[in-house]
């Protein structure tokens, strides 16, 4: 008995000290005839923060549930730490998970909520206390341990859910939109805190969100999903600088990239980020009329109309400070050659970078 418990405890220790990679190999999930996840392959290196990003209904949450083992795979494999866990129940995958609703037990105190898993796994009480103290310390929950979840604010409940994930000492932590129930201020704070925690504990994290700011600011690797497939995977930088498709271009960045057509480039859709466009009252560049301005404090987003009638397109331009432009004013829009992204009009995919085209498309 004693030997067994000791082994369990040291098992947890090793689990913590050796981070695990998470790998998905052509993972597919179908519900009847509907395909929620369609051949998704991705790899989160050990100790990496991988963010699954996408609009609602894109299959990102289902993908996470497949990693957790809460839903069963239709086909494909899930590997954690190199081992195929596709057939294992959630409890044996060495993962912790934070749910969007936090899934706290309403009748248990904060301490019991955090310790629930350890109690179930019969971790020795001394060890339980040690881990609780550490988690409470990391998350600043010390004064709240005797409270019930209903007596906590949203942010505090979120911390308890994090605490529950931390004490498990699992090498992999899954998060399903953990911040979506918090207000903007708190979300910003928790974002930094979760990232700091992940780096400090050296755990591999798979994080689901629909918020691209969250993804960009936290991730080592962003996997952008659309319609159950991976649209693009890469560093936040790569997704921003070289979007692989019109969808990726429009999903990442606020306001989204301008994707428009110019008559001299048939079959090509051009993309220029609002922050890469320069607005001038006169001079060279594309002629446009101001349609509306949207003042944000540090900058102003100016919506400009280009073209006439059915051909008219609206482009957003981000200019620093307060731009005092009246709707209807005539302006000129210009941008540099390397700010131009070119996409295939038929497939929506990025074209190989062609310097001639970019130079020609610059205004």
């Amino acid at each position: 008995m004693r030997a067994r418990t000791a082994a369990t405890v040291s098992g947890f220790r090793t689990a913590m000290s050796v981070p695990c990679s998470v790998e998905l190999d052509r993972v597919t999930k179908r519900w009847g005839t509907a395909t929620a996840v369609d051949g998704v392959s991705l790899t989160a290196q050990a100790g990496q923060m991988l963010v699954l990003l996408g609009p609602s209904g894109c299959g990102k949450s289902t993908t996470l549930r497949l990693v957790a083992g809460l839903d069963s795979l239709t086909s494909g494999r899930v590997l954690i730490g190199g081992a195929d866990v596709s057939a294992l129940p959630p409890a044996r995958r060495r993962i912790a998970m934070v749910f969007q609703s936090y899934a706290l037990f309403p009748h248990l105190s904060v301490a019991d909520n955090i310790l629930f898993g350890l109690q179930v796994r019969r971790v020795p009480v001394v060890e339980q206390r040690k881990r609780l103290a550490r988690a409470a310390d990391l998350l600043g929950l010390g004064a709240l341990l005797e409270r019930r979840p209903a007596q906590l604010s949203g942010g505090q409940q979120q911390r308890v859910a994090l605490g529950r994930a931390i004490v498990a000492d699992a090498p992999v932590c899954l998060m399903d939109e953990p911040l979506s129930n918090l207000d903007a201020q708190l979300r910003h704070e928790m974002r930094r805190e979760i990232r700091a925690l992940q780096l400090r504990l050296g755990i591999t994290m798979v994080y689901v969100t629909h918020d691209q700011t969250e993804a960009m600011s936290m991730a080592d690797q962003v996997v952008l999903m659309n319609g159950g497939r991976v649209e693009q995977a890469g560093t936040p930088d790569a997704l921003y600088a070289r979007p692989a498709s019109v969808f990726a271009a429009r999903f990442i960045g606020t306001p989204p990239m301008n994707v428009f057509d110019l008559p001299q480039f048939p079959g090509v859709r051009l993309g220029v980020r609002p922050e890469a466009m320069t607005l001038a009252p006169s001079g060279p560049g594309l002629a446009a009329t101001v349609a509306d301005t949207d003042y944000h404090g540090a900058d102003t987003v100016v919506l400009c109309r280009v073209g006439e009638g059915a051909e008219a397109q609206t482009l957003a331009v981000r200019t620093p400070g307060h731009a005092p432009l009246a709707p209807g004013a005539s302006v000129r829009l210009s941008w540099a050659p390397d700010a131009v992204h070119a996409f295939d009009a038929a497939t929506g995919l990025r074209r190989p970078d062609e310097d001639d085209l970019r130079r020609a498309a610059a205004q």
Binding site: A68, A91, A103, P106
Partner: protein, 292 residues
Amino acid sequence: MPLRIATQVHGWLLLLPAAVLLVAFTHYPAMAALWNSLHSTPRGSRPARFVGLDQYAAMAQDPIFLQSLMNNALFVLGTVPLSIALALAMALWVNGRLRGRTALRVAYFTPTVLPMIAVANIWLFFYTPGYGLLDQITGLFGLPAHNWLGDRSTALPALMAVTVWKEAGFFMIFYLAALQSIPPTLREAADLEGAGRWTFFRRVTFPLLMPTTLFVLVNAIINAFRLVDHVIVMTRGGPDNATALLLFYIYEVGFRYWDTGYAAALTAVLLAILVVLAIGQFLYLDRKVHYR
């Protein structure tokens, strides 16, 4: 008339119809019963006269009253825990993902919908010695016929079985509603920790069902003391008062022997028992119940 008074009058007028009914059929009879219990029963030329607590003192010497009290206590112990446990088990069962669960829910709930008299008659047939359903089954195994309701030792348990059968389905509905308000993510969170079915039930489901359990418990006990129709149809308290429950005995005293004074005193005792039990349950269990 000032507006404030007008509003008040308006309010009282709205309350009036309900209040009249309540007073006429609940409060006045209850008070009258208490008042009657302090008087002798009027008979022919002898009007009722004040006898103080004499009626209550007489109960201590009344063997049938003591037996019906005892019967009722046994009846509560025999039906309440069993019907609650069954209700919970059935609710857990039909709450799962299984084929035809709607049909199953309906099947479990059916006994509750049936009229009491019909239920009693169905079970009378089950219990009939010789050709009743129960004896036909035991007969297959070569066992002798048994008069379930006619034997002092089996009559009360036979009545208990009917009550458990009828109540469990009703209580199941409450448990089912409570179970469906428990978010499924709790189960998933527990799955991730490796909590088995039993652990999850003991640590999460059961504590979260406590408010329902308390409600069902109070109702089950009140029902056990209120039961009279099954007794009237199936045994009339017999054999030899083996199935005389408190309310049945009150009915006998009041409406067969027309000893209304004594019946009123018995009613007061029954009410007192129910009030004490209900208060006790709430005070004791409230501390252990987590309300969301």
